[in-house]
Subunit: 344 residues, 2 copies
Amino acid sequence: MIVSRDRVTLKMGAGGHAMRRLIGEVFLERLAGPEMLAGDIGLAALDDGAAVRIGDQWLVTTTDSHVVHPIFFPGGDIGRLAVAGTVNDLAMMGATEPVMLTLAVVIEEGFARADLERIAESIRIACAEAGVRIMTGDTKVMGKGELDGIILNTAGVALTSRVIPDRGLQVGDRILVTGTMGDHGLAVLAARGNLSLEVELRSDVAPINGLVRAALAVAGDGITAMKDPTRGGLASALHEMADKARVGILLEERAVPIRPDVRAVGELLGIDPLHVANEGKVVMGVRPDRAEAVLAAVRAHPLGREAALVGTCIADSPRRVVLDTGFGRRLLIEPDGEPLPRIC
Amino acid sequence: MIVSRDRVTLKMGAGGHAMRRLIGEVFLERLAGPEMLAGDIGLAALDDGAAVRIGDQWLVTTTDSHVVHPIFFPGGDIGRLAVAGTVNDLAMMGATEPVMLTLAVVIEEGFARADLERIAESIRIACAEAGVRIMTGDTKVMGKGELDGIILNTAGVALTSRVIPDRGLQVGDRILVTGTMGDHGLAVLAARGNLSLEVELRSDVAPINGLVRAALAVAGDGITAMKDPTRGGLASALHEMADKARVGILLEERAVPIRPDVRAVGELLGIDPLHVANEGKVVMGVRPDRAEAVLAAVRAHPLGREAALVGTCIADSPRRVVLDTGFGRRLLIEPDGEPLPRIC
C-alpha cells in the first residue's frame, strides 16, 4: 500500500478520518461555498446528503458509488447495495419517501450478461421494497482490464417537510441502533476469502426507509440525528456524530447487539465488528423521553427486531466516544477507515 | 473485442443502437414502469434525464459517469466534462438553472494527488461558469490495477416550469446546431495517440445552459426538441430524435459546421466528425417561424457563434436521417456507437 501523501491510498476511501481529510483538502477547499439559504445542508456539512429549501419543503439529494467485491455475496449483491445505500442516505436525513433514483453503470468489457441481468433484477426487487423507481440512468463500458468488473452509482432525490441533520445530538440523548452490527462487512470479507467457515454470514443490506418512517411517526421531533453506520461501521458513525455535535458519547459495549457468528469471524480475522460496514441499520439519537417509544416502534418493524439502546450523549469528553466495557471505560479509537477496501 | 451476446462489449457503451439494445433488454425490461403521472418522463423515454411533476414545476434529474481517457486533454479534462455533461443534459430538457449537482469519485490507489487537485479545480471553474454548486458527494478508492485511474459520476437536479422532451420534433421544424461538430471526440482521440499532428485539436467541452437559456428566451415555445450530440455524435442524436418523433430528418451536409483541422484529423483516422462526441453543443428542433430568431440569439452567445441551420424535418423517410450531400441524397447510417471507447 502506498503511503505517500502525494498519492491516493486505500485508506482514503475507507470512511474514516483519512478519507475526510482528503475530501476536506482536495474538494471542500474548492467546492464548498456558503450555504445558499440559512439551514441548507451542502458539501461542507459532510452529511449523508444535501438539503436545499424549495418552497415549504426540502429537496434532499445524495449519491454513492458502489465498488463492492465480490459483487454477489450472501444476503445481497452490488445492485441491492446501490439501491439500499442511496435510499438509506436519504432516510438518514428524514426523507423516507424518495421521488426517484438515478442509476449509472460502468461495466468492464467482457462482463457476463447473465450477471448484469441478475444485478438488474436485484435492483428491481430492492426498488420495490423501498417504494422507489429508477427514473434515469447511464451506461458506460471500459476496456478489458481497465475496470475490475462493474461499478454502480446511484443518486437519490426526495422531498421532505423536515430535515434531520446528522449534527443534531444533544447531551442526554440516548443512542439507539436498529439491529446487529458488523453483518455486512464481515459477510463480504468472509465471501472473499477461502476461510472454510462453518457458518455463512449474511449481509444485512436492505432499504430501511420504512423502518425510519415508523420511528419518525412515533418520535415527533424526538429523533435528533441519524446516521447509517456504513464504511467504518458504528465506530466511525458515532465519532462523526459526536464530532459534529460537540458532545461526548458513552457507548455501553455489552448493549451493542452483535451476532455470535459475526463476532466469531471478526475474532478469526482480527476485525472488530464495530469498525465494519452495515448496510441495513441506523444509529439514532433520541430524546430521552421518547427513547422507549421509538425503541418499541423500531422493534415492531421486521428490520428492527434486535434494536437496542446502546449509549448516551454526555457533556464530558466532547467529540469523543467513550466505551464502557462493563469492567471500565476507555476511549474508542476513531478508525482510519474500514480495515479492508471495497466493502461497499 | 468480444462479440458474443453473452458478454458486454465496448460497443454497448458507445452511445449507438448496440447500447440502446442492451439497456432495453437488461434494464428497461425490469426497471421501467408506467409513468407515475401523465407527462412524467422516466427510464423508458431514454431522454437526457427524467422529469417528475412537483406542484406546478417539474423536477428534472440526470446522471452520467465519466471514463474519458486521457483524463486531461486539450480544451478540458474529466472534471470539466463531468460538470458540463450533467448541466447540459438538464439544459436539454429545458432546465437551464440547476439546483445542485452531486459528485461521486472513484479513484485508483496510487493516483497522483496533484492530478486530483487539478480535477477538483477544474470542477470548481466549470461549476462557476454554469452557475451551479456541488452539494453532496462520495469518494471511493479501488486497489492498484482494479481501475484505470479515475471515474467521476455527476448527477444533477433542476426545477423548471416547462420540460422539453427530446421526442418533440414535428414535420417542418428546422434543425439547428449551435456550433462545429466533432471537436471533442477528435481532440480526445488525437490526444491519445502519437499522431504527430501539426495542429492541436481542442475539445469544445463547456456548460451550455446559458446558451440554451438565451435561445429559450427568444423562442417562446418554438424549440420543439433538444439533444446534446455526445456519444455517437450528431448522427446518433439525429437518429434518436427522428426515431422518437417518427419524422424524417433531411440533413444538408454542407451546412454542418466542421473545423477544417477536425475534418483533416478525422480523414487521417478514418472517422467521420458527424459520428463522434461533442460536449458543448446542442441540436435543436425549431419551429420554422422562430428559426431565424433562435439562430440569431444563439449566434449572439459566445458559445454559439458558429451556429447554423443544417436540416429540416420531413414527412418522407420517417425515423431516418437523409443526407443531402449537395450532389445527391443518401441515408445517413445510424452508427453502432462511437468508433472508439472512453471518449466521455
